[in-house]
Symmetry: C2
Subunit: 207 residues, 2 copies
DNA sequence: TTATTTCATTGAACACTGTTTAATTATAAA
DNA sequence: TTTATAATTAAACAGTGTTCAATGAAATAA
């Protein structure tokens, strides 16, 4: 009966560590995270970390994955727009951009393989990748629908999806790096980007 | 008379350090660069670094700027195509992509403010930014010409230039991160990206 | 309750990082 | 040869991630 309590206690300490790490990352960034900072914050010895995690990687990975899933989840609730798939796509990307800009640390870590700790993107994205490819699949089906309806120019669906994705990705990173852009300019950039891209993939008579 | 020799000797040692650093970066990345690695390679004591450079930053900055200039230079020699500005733009970007992929470490460091050492993007890009905006200007004038000729849809020139730039940037980073993409797939991505983008900015009757 | 086993926690060390200071060596000028 | 100047270094400091043997406490068995 104390086996449970023991496990619960374990989980509790584990979460305490993660919470502290989350706070530190929020304040000092992933780079600013250190084992001793964590253990100072929670009044433990540095060695304790290795009783609850394999290494520092595992902590960062856990939090980064958490952050990335939050970003991907933002797309999930986009409602289908049967007749105008481009609006559906646009809505999804708009949310995606907003979510990414809200957790820039985590987005960067995943997309850019950024932080020193997380060297093995593969392991980090075991789950993330499947969710991403799922999202990519959604995007593909929207494009396919657009093509079938004659709204979009016939094209290699997956390639087109990747282009949309990549361009959006570039925009996000740009917005992240250049921190001194006005909210207004950000919106104009996003808007114009979509204009060009959709203008590029949509049939002439639909524009 | 030995004043020269002395200065020459200084420059020599400085270059020795930079050469060693360059090698290490090429092998282990900017993250893998350390003062002791450098000094071991050139059989000096770690402290010597601080006689020739202010700190590690200065070394990284020097090399990053060097690498970035090489990348920007790749665009310089693109010949104007009076009647088909889109081809001119495409050629410039194609070279830019190739150059960036040849020095990925440096490109990342400059564009993503990536490496732990270089924290002050401002200082690093003092020159970089002016060169970049010069390049951006070239891009703008090409677009303007396209608009004037009726080949491109009337638009906010600078905004459009930024979109092209940003999208290309996203593509480059994607290609960098996902190392296991075939040369063929890379070309298809680049090709399709341009197709979509130009299709998006060019006038209907020109496509 | 006592003895034993199991688990959580830590102190201390190791190897690495960038950096600084005082001391040392080598080289030039007097 | 002596003096002054510049180049070079040894040693230390504070920080990093990580390991391991020793300690503490709590759960189980006697």
């Amino acid at each position: 009966m104390s086996k449970e309590r023991q496990l619960r206690k374990q989980e509790e300490v584990r979460n305490t560590i993660l919470d502290a790490a989350r706070d530190i990352i929020a304040k000092d960034g992933i780079r600013g995270l250190s084992i001793r900072k964590i253990t100072n914050a929670i009044d433990y010895s540095p060695a304790i970390i290795y009783h609850y995690f394999k290494d520092k990687n595992e902590i960062v990975e856990t939090l980064v994955r958490e952050g990335y899933e939050r970003i991907l989840a933002s797309i999930g609730s986009v409602k289908r727009n049967e007749n105008e798939p481009e609006k559906e796509i646009r809505e999804a990307f708009t949310r995606y951009i907003a979510a990414a800009l809200e957790s820039p640390e985590y987005y960067r870590a995943v997309m850019l393989n950024d932080d020193p700790a997380v060297l093995k993107r593969t392991r980090l994205l075991e789950k993330g990748i499947s969710e991403r490819s799922q999202t990519l699949q959604m995007l593909c089906s929207s494009i396919q629908r657009g093509v079938n309806q004659g709204r979009f120019t016939p094209c290699d669906i997956e390639l087109t999806a990747q282009i949309l994705w990549t361009s959006t990705f570039g925009l996000i990173i740009k917005l992240m790096v250049e921190k001194d852009i006005s909210r207004d300019q950000v919106n104009r950039l996003i808007d114009h980007q979509f204009t060009v891209l959709f203008n590029g993939i949509m049939s002439r008579n639909e524009v």
